[in-house]
């Protein structure tokens, strides 16, 4: 059944939307008219420029309200998520004990030139994040955190050296899509060495989600508001599945 919706201002389906942006032209009547035309070209009606301001001689800033003309049918919307029942730390530990006869090795790093560690530490370190312990505290998991600024080759070398089962990669800097470039290079490296099937490879960061991860060739991706148990739930099941079917 179709379910058509538009944005909600103060009345159902009134379609009200707010936008703000800068144009590389002077702030004057023509600038305002251009801003309005640009918003209309997006399929927005009743456009009003409620604020305009010069940022420099040839730069102008606009705040705009309007009405979205086209509704969307939310029946057609699908989301790619990690479809995994999330287990608690205790449940994960029990699962590992039952299904595996060895300690599982998770190796992680913030890679490339990225120096941000808080994200990967939140998942891996003892202390964890927001009161949720990190992988280091999980029984049955050996967590090796290589820190930041680790290049792809080093990460792979260390993963082999430590007989890792799971590789965790964190990417925070996304300007000019540097994270996409870096992540793609890692997958290419694995493929070139014929090692893609050897590991479960999971990525994470503020601009990462599961569908991006799949698109780039990873097993899963996690963004903000995810903790060690989310990642571990996915990883242990994926490993179990892998051990059951491909050996």
């Amino acid at each position: 059944m179709k379910q058509l919706i538009r944005p909600y201002g103060d009345t159902l389906n009134d379609g009200k939307i707010q936008l703000s942006f800068t144009l590389p032209i002077a702030c004057n009547k023509k600038g305002e008219a251009s801003a309005k035309a640009l918003v209309e070209s997006l399929g927005i009606r009743d456009v009003s420029v409620v604020h305009s301001e010069a940022l420099d001689d040839a730069f102008s800033y606009y705040i705009i309200y309007g009405t979205v003309a086209n509704p969307i049918d939310i029946e057609n919307i699908t989301v790619e998520t990690v479809d995994q029942a999330v287990m608690s730390k205790d449940a994960i530990e029990a699962y590992i004990k039952e299904k595996f006869d060895k300690e599982l090795v998770f190796i992680g790093a913030s890679t490339g030139t990225d120096a941000h560690t808080v994200g990967i530490d939140a998942i891996m370190n003892m202390k964890g994040f927001n009161g949720h312990y990190g992988l280091e505290r999980y029984q049955g998991i050996k967590a090796i955190n290589l820190g930041s600024q680790v290049d792809n080759e080093t990460l792979l070398k260390q993963a082999l050296h430590h007989h890792a089962d799971v590789i965790l990669i964190s990417q925070t800097v996304t300007q000019k899509n540097i994270h996409i470039k870096n992540l793609t290079e890692f997958i290419e490296l694995l493929e070139a060495e014929n090692l893609r099937e050897r590991f479960i490879v999971i990525i994470g960061g503020p601009r990462i989600d599961h569908s991006l991860a799949k698109e780039l060739g990873f097993d899963a991706g996690f963004g903000p508001k995810n903790y060690a148990y989310d990642v571990a739930s996915f990883a242990v099941e994926a490993l179990y599945f892998k051990q059951k079917y491909d050996v």
Partner: protein, 518 residues
Amino acid sequence: MNKLYLNQQTINAARLTAKKIADSVQTFIDQHTTISVERALCRMLGIDGVNALDIPYPNIIVDHIKDNADLSKGVAHYLSYALAEHKHAPQKIAEMIDQNCLDLSQYDKLEQSPHIALLTQYLTPQLNRIKRQKATRETMQLKPSKTPLKYVIVATGNIYEDVKQAVAAAKQGADIIAVIRTTGQSLLDYVPYGNTVEGFGGTYATQANFATMRVALDQVSDDQNRPIYLVNYASGLCMSEIAVMGALERLDMMLNDALYGIIFRDINMQRTFIDQYFSRVISAYSGITINTGEDNYLTTSDAFLEAHTVLASQFINEQFALNAHMKKSLMGLGHAYEIDPAMPNSFLYEIAQAQMAREIFPEAPLKYMPPTKHMTGDIFQGVIQNALFNITAVSTDQTIHLLGMLTEAIHTPFMSDRAQALKNAQYIASAFQDFSKEIKFDENGMIVARAQSVLSEANQLLSSIKNMGLFTALENGVFASTKRQMTSGKGLEGVFKKHAVYRNPVLELMKKAMAGDV
């Protein structure tokens, strides 16, 4: 000023302990040199440019000596002999080495060079240029401006886009423009050459980029009749070289903090403390204000529980700067507004900490960092967080006021983000203009108690750092909950123990000039 009833004896004790900590590292520093220090010396001799493979000539000389002779004797030893023999300018010598027409190892076994004085004629033009730049800066700074100085960053990756953004921001009221460096630059053991257009999360720091931005900002400064300060980053593997470039191109402030490099870039501590010393001497001589990075500690450790680590580190940084002959008026010690907004009374604690820093370092142009860690994608809430921060900055008389961006959690600033931040800050600076003169704090209240407890914790921490030594303390992770080993991290292979014949004429000349200054 003593609104917080801080105990002056505790402050004095903390300072004395910090002095002992810094002095014991200084003994180590004085016995060593690094490839970056030697390259900085080459640059002061007028050696610049790159060879056909884009390798900078200072790297060519230093690597040549390192690989074929003994760098512990210093480049001055070899170059002075070469000058005596060939009578060419140092630049020409560098080119001859590059073309394999000259091998400096022939001077390796000779006695301490009797020709060091020959270097002076080549140092003089750079020293004079730095003096002229210093004088120009002092003239510029006579133009009226108002503290807190509003500081914004540009970080497009492309120097020409940076210029557009910087000029727009300056016209909108920014006093200070910082050009953020690209990711990865601090780990390069050379400084790229020429104007650059590609960087990630920032733009390459090169001498040409410095010059391009300086020209653009001087223009706005003339139009607006107020000083527009230019900032870049020296910290990293090329700390002393970048300090030279900043001095030559009249940067006004530079991030200059070994501790930041150690903790947040995993640069080897021995290497970077040595580099820091020379780079601070250069900055002190050139009148460049340094900025330190204590504010960053609060991104990896809790801003309430670990506030005393920031203060302890400021005390240590002050002593390192004094050892480099720096005046207190050039010490932009860092701190930040990073307490979790979910904490009740967070604003009161922030006021306490900011006022405390102001009272303990009254002459320092304190650098005050906005909320970053607790900024989220909720940009509207972010505006409020920044407003509380701005109120604190104005009400506690901070000097260098880094403006928070509503989009902090999303991207490096858009032109419109910066404009919004400047409007917010201007409004608050005017609305709260004389507020700091009007307020007093309850002697038995929370704010006073908080400041006193942070001071006393910092004092205790300093004692324990002094007992174990700074290197060991860093190995234990005293700052930013980050542990770094004395013999790990980047750049250790570039450290050399000075030979008995070692000389650094730049350091000697600058120290002498500053000693005369006092």
